[in-house]
């Protein structure tokens, strides 16, 4: 956790210093800027905060609900102007393709320090002593075995359309586990809930920031440190024959916009480019929405009112 704090604050500061460079034209203020609202709370918080910053700068903003996986064609065509929290770990090939063709612009990192890993609820440590060390998983395989996976252990992986990071780790680390694709985020959360209620064994690929980390007090398995070398050089890591025999490399969380945004709303482009939100800033807001059940609009409006000192400089730098 210490690492994240440092990183989060430094990106925030970097963003602030970048923001104070130059001001830009407002552009077409009579037309609303269309921001994509995706399916998860964190993204909605980020977007609502960004939207209120744009409104403070004098823009009209329209929030449009959009399926995360299906929205890229719309961003490329300007039917959606910006998607403000895109996770590198589960963004689709369609995005990469459109980005390579110059039809969707990558606007840089958001500032969230995301971590992916193999997670487990705390009671699992009693069922498999030796956790969080990853070597313990080898002996415990039968503890995690189920009807579908016997004699291998069961590891719940990401939904199939997000890729198969769990399967890749298992293969590279040569662990006796069978990855089961989760199908959806709801299915992953339901697994954690059921495991917590029933005190049954469970390991699953998961990520933070996510409200379930706090709600179920999830822990991550300590895999060999994930570095770029590990993914480039087979000799690195415990398995000398393959790459990727280590923990996940931190996921890049970034902002993506319609390329025409820059000319149509120059100042908005600057604001969104310098928009930054750290894990520490987002996490309590997520808790207020998902655990306490408050509406996203109210939670973000409250935050924007209380934290003028954080966002006002970015807006001022772009407009004044």
């Amino acid at each position: 956790m210490r690492n994240f704090c440092k990183l989060g604050i430094s990106t925030c500061l970097a963003a602030l210093s970048a923001a104070s460079l130059h001001a830009a034209e407002l552009g077409a203020t009579n037309e609303p800027i269309k921001l994509a609202i995706n399916e998860w709370t964190g993204q909605q918080i980020t977007t609502r905060i960004a939207g209120q910053m744009l409104e403070a700068a004098g823009y009209k903003v329209e929030y449009i609900t959009a399926g995360y996986q299906n929205m890229w064609q719309a961003v490329a065509e300007g039917q959606l102007d910006a998607a403000l929290e895109v996770w590198g770990s589960n963004v689709t090939d369609q995005y990469r393709q459109l980005n390579a063709e110059g039809k969707v612009e990558d606007l840089g990192e958001l500032g969230l320090v995301a971590r992916e890993g193999i997670a487990y609820p705390p009671h699992v440590a009693e069922l498999c002593p030796g956790l969080p060390d990853w070597e313990a998983l080898r002996e415990c395989a039968m503890t995690f075995a189920t009807a579908d996976t016997i004699p291998a252990g069961r590891l719940v992986d990401y939904p199939g359309d997000w890729g198969t990071p769990g399967a890749d780790r298992i293969k590279a680390l040569d662990l006796p586990y069978k990855p089961i694709p989760a199908g959806s985020e709801g299915a992953l959360v339901a697994e954690f809930r059921a495991s917590a209620e029933r005190k049954t064994p469970l390991i699953a690929v998961f990520w933070q920031p996510h409200w379930a980390i706090a709600a179920y007090d999830l822990k991550f398995v300590d895999l060999p440190e994930g570095t770029q070398e590990c993914y480039d050089d087979p000799a690195y890591g415990p398995n000398k024959d393959v790459t990727g025999d280590c923990d996940f490399i931190p996921t890049r969380v970034f902002k993506a916009v319609w390329p025409g945004l820059k000319d149509k709303w120059p100042a908005a482009y600057e604001i969104l480019k310098n928009l930054s939100l750290s894990t520490e800033q987002q996490q309590p807001l997520m808790g207020a929405v998902d655990v306490d059940g408050k509406p996203t609009e109210a939670v973000t409006t409250e935050w924007v009112r209380a934290n003028t000192d954080i966002w006002q400089p970015i807006v001022d730098a772009a407009t004044k």
């Binding site: 609900t65 299906n70 090939d93 694709p181 199908g183 959806s184 299915a187």
Partner: protein, 700 residues
Amino acid sequence: MTDISASGSVAATGGKDGTGRTGMNGMTPGVRIAFLCVLVGAICLALSPYQAWIRTWPAALTLPATEWIGAGLTTLFEFLKPAARSLARLLEYPMAGANRLLVGSPYALTIGVFTALGWHIGGIRMAALALAGLGFVLASGYWIASMNTLGLVFVSVPLALIVGGLIGVLAHEICSLRRAIETVLDIMQTVPTFAYLTPLLLLFGFGPVVGLIASVIYAAPPMARNVLLGLKRVEPDIREAAIMNGATRSQQLLLVEIPSAGRQIMVGVNQTIMAALSMVIIAAVIGGFNDIGWEVLLTMRKAAFGQSLIAGVVIVIFAILADRMSSALARDGKRHSWKVTASILLAAVVIALFQNSALPAAQDFAAFKSAAAVIDRSLGAFIAANGVILDGVKNGTMFFVLLPLRIGLEKAVLPFTWGFQWTTGISIAVFSIATVAAIVLALRNHAVAGLSLLIATGILVTGITNLPWPFVLVALGGLGWLAGGTKLSVFAVSMTGAILSIGLWEPALLSIYLCTASVLICVAVGGAIGAGCAVSENAWRVMRPVCDFLQTIPLFVFLIPVLMFFQIGEFSAFLAICAYAIVPMIRYTHHGLTSTPDELIEAAVASGASEWQVMREVRIPYSAPTILLGLNQTILYAFSMLVIAALIGTTDLGQQIYLALGQGDVGLGVAAGASMAILALVADRLIQGFAARQRHALGL
């Protein structure tokens, strides 16, 4: 809720003539086909250890069809895009209008108008239903999202009715096109909607218009089918009277035939409304506007069962209101007093005027928050208390039913599942016993049963996903020939062959396995429940609303408790499919068994048959065609549920469609969707063929 006689079923085709059928003695066609299947199966089993191509279709022969389809469609879309985009812009006007009307009107006024309408067409009961239903929607806090949804339905239903109606009239007027149109309707209903969402997105651009078009595609066929059926059934006398009076063709159609087909057409209207509503949640996957389907998706993502159940119930309420109101309109019964209607409207206007100052805003209602929390807590407590039992159920079914079906007894029987290891010796013993039994049956004049027993043994030992493809093709071809002659046989083989050649065979076999397993259970359990309801009126009174509920609640909602009980995996997918696909089996069994003509039953009773004998000798044979249609619907339902079950992590065709949707891969989406439709259509045609034979044999 759904009208059985015309529930958007895939039209009956197939076997019309007896294809060179000999008597029941000697080598009947059935025996020959069964024998051929046994032979091919045995050869494949014997050869497969040495010849890998028998089990897996050679990669060299796989056509890169998904790439071709993708490239072809993308080029085509570039060409069609300008026209499609203008259409989309055009459709935005009525949608924005309907939306503004429904979201903008004070809720008191909307509820009042629906209550007044309910009173007018159905008296106090319907008015109370509308008031209570919409009251629940308002109290749940989903009013605005619901009105967004309703706005979409208000535009999509008339569009679907117009499109469907025109298709139906066209099919009726031009006989040579009828078969082609019926096939197109089948395709519109069997290709999973998820499969064409990506192409629609590319064509029409992002937004609710895509959902609108998708729901028109899905909801138009029931209208078309019912219009066609209604026009076909117009009495010849009426038709002739119109001709004798010198009416032109269009006068005949508009002034005489369509009005006299009115009742059947109203059934189509009802079915179309229901289909459009059931699409709501699927369209929400794309987003574009904040509708009730999106709310269900959000709660589903948090695995918040209580809240998603409430959002789901809101959709059920709309479905029930739409169903009851439109079928009340279809029955042209007496209309109720205008005075009461007017006073309800007046009261609504008065309340609406004071709404802003006296009542809370629509989005401030949240009456069921605590109820949702209670549901969630009790679900958790139930799981914690019964975990061991739930696990026992799951493991038992997995070990003894699902795994053997999927990978065969030879791989599923292991020391830590069954307590012993399956060996080649056991295989030989099992096959020998089955062969002896088959010979005994053949000698007793049940050759088909004997050979089928052998085939079933082979499938159970090998497992569905390991079936050699030559065997599957031969078996389907043979079944097709039996059910509907050469044409159906060629259809079954060539269509299934297409799946093989585009490289989707493996997921297709997994789909077949999941469907087979769930359909078997649905037939056994659903058939029993249906029969029970046929015997006891009270049982039906309990089951009917349960069936309605299962058919209209968005299926996503069920995934959460199923997952909490049984975790991610095949068993959960299997249960979710069963929960949905069992409904037609119950309905049709009940309908078939209760619609036996009274004369038949009286005749049997008069000749001294006991109740059980009446059931076995009269009711069951008489209702066999209806029950077969129920089976047909169960299979189609199971296939349509596969895509949703992909959200619990299956790996079959449903998952391929979902992957394609996520990746924006037009080619894979269309290919997998087409494969799914092929499997459903082949199963449909085979069963329709056998049902037609059975009806023929009964002289119906």
